[in-house]
Symmetry: C2
Subunit: 370 residues, 2 copies
Amino acid sequence: MAPRKKNAPDAATTSSPVSMADLARELNVSMTTISRALSDHFSIGPAMKQKVLKLAKKYNYQPNHMASALRKGKSKLLGIVVPYIEGRFFPSVVHGIETAASKAGYNVIICQSNEDVAQERRNLDSLLSAQVAGVLVSLSRTTLDHKHFDKLRSRGLPLVYFDRVVEGDNVNTVVLDDREGGYLSTRHLLAQGCRRVAHFAGPQHLNIYRNRRQGYFDALREAGLPEDESMVIYTDMLQEQGAAGLRQLLALPNPPDAIFSAGDYCALGAMQEARRQGLRVPEDLAIAGFSNEAFTVVTEPNITTVDQRCEEMGQAAVRLLLEVIDSKGESFTPRQVALRPELLVRGSSLRPALAPVAKKMAASRAKTVG
Amino acid sequence: MAPRKKNAPDAATTSSPVSMADLARELNVSMTTISRALSDHFSIGPAMKQKVLKLAKKYNYQPNHMASALRKGKSKLLGIVVPYIEGRFFPSVVHGIETAASKAGYNVIICQSNEDVAQERRNLDSLLSAQVAGVLVSLSRTTLDHKHFDKLRSRGLPLVYFDRVVEGDNVNTVVLDDREGGYLSTRHLLAQGCRRVAHFAGPQHLNIYRNRRQGYFDALREAGLPEDESMVIYTDMLQEQGAAGLRQLLALPNPPDAIFSAGDYCALGAMQEARRQGLRVPEDLAIAGFSNEAFTVVTEPNITTVDQRCEEMGQAAVRLLLEVIDSKGESFTPRQVALRPELLVRGSSLRPALAPVAKKMAASRAKTVG
DNA sequence: TTACTTTACACAATCGATTGTGTCGACAAG
DNA sequence: CTTGTCGACACAATCGATTGTGTAAAGTAA
């Protein structure tokens, strides 16, 4: 009847883990006493507590999380749903999440949606039946409506979106302040003396790219420069599109002297094309990217970019989620967190003439990697 | 008494999930019938099965994995322990693991050891109390003995090591055939007409670097070339050491015309140094790295390297682990799996004169990324 | 019609931990 | 000596699903 018999023949090689019942038997007390002694309940005497603790140590007792979770209704598991685990961004965020969760005594279950809503839906079901205590989500690219998340809500399951989020003030979100990133980057290019700053924009149905573009325009306006749509190239942030985009810009009657790209790959493509066209970077064309991809410190010159604080995002998301979990019962007012991006000034945008001064300025407010 | 009362006042907003008991009540049958109907047990009539299935769909019934796992003694959770989740390698392997596990109906819990044995130990305890069905491990750098894994063995928990493994034939392991990788790479350089191939070796206490070096020597021997220890530079695979290593090699009376580096970063450093020294790559110096880091397709020229089949490794590890899990009861003979590496021939090693031919050859047996 | 199978389902124990309520003894106040 | 109080622990129900065994009804064979 039992799937695993006590004192089974193979008990010597495959010992069953000790349970509270085992400890109780050994001490001739009830399981109640064991349970309460281990959780430091007031109704258990200090002498008994010591005995229990010692025995638990001796037998290397490991509490069964599933049993505990089953009884208490809440587990020590957090669920993560990300589009995929590759590239620089998501792994770093997951790294931050795992670190923060682990510190709080939680384990994390990780799921990939592969940019597919249907898979995302399955992921949620999977996490539901795993009885997670809360869920952290970054939406798949194909997720247009979020009705499938209502199932979590109706179960009272805490939910926090990060990076790719649902917009609104009735959800918990953690994002990078992309507008600020675009603003800082563009302002930096202007401070280098550039007067015609172009922009490689990403798909505008994604909030991150809309916001980076907005920051770009904000900086131009602040500097009293016109918003010239012919200087904005819309791309999917691919390397080749950066090269093509630059060619397009160079064909203009009044070509740019700088480019703020909403992505590093596009910036890279432009930089390579610039070299092919005989342009010097940054002397003839200053370039700045976005995302702090690993390769940006490998190219020559290194590429100026904006760091997305991946790990901080993961940690912030966990902090927020744990707050919601711990506030169980009282109504928690959803919160939206925006992280300050960090501009990393590097060779691709540091004009030689201004370099000494700019370097100093940059160093005072951002890590400068040569 | 119950942590969450049925028909609680907030039932409208926070509905409790439907359980088998709810379905049983609705149909006026026992939970036994529900359970068996859902698992397609032979003792339940087809008519009843239909009714149960329909009702389950209607109420969107989600089985409680924890309860099931508690009763059956085995969960649908796999544990992963990796040193960290960053860079290219581990995230990709985790990607492969999650994909394969998910396909088999398993969820994965991920833990980071941060290259610390003590943390690794804690990770194992954590996974034990989470009642995982099996564990996939890549050892931390500071793990010298593996007694802490005996705890898993004594619990009968299936265990598979990947990449950083325990050596021996009584454990399950999945690794890359590093010797083959070193051999293929070196042979390629020789085929390009290079006659003095140097080697940047990694720390020799790690089996992966020992094996890459061995492959290098094997290729030389096969070509009838001498093993010249002055052509082997021992490094920690850092970028700067690549540059320094090249300087050291150029100071030799008879400098090399090619370098096989056991790591991409070191290869990159050498390539940059070569440019500074006025050497052309690959004309004066052919270079090949190892690991297929993202930046290898960003440099000019792109860097020839060896792909480590990260995803395949993850999938193979899961396959092996599931075999052990499914073979529960019978004794499973531990198996060691070695994956064939893939040589990616790129610009840094393609000699112009031979390029057309070599390109064709390379394309026929490896992906060539321009 | 009697006896024997099958079919189809119910009963109840069980996994391991938690917790409201009950109980027993000691000790103090009256 | 009695009633009250408090400390320290036991009883037993419970979370949700699983499963060996029991059993009533229906069907088959003799």
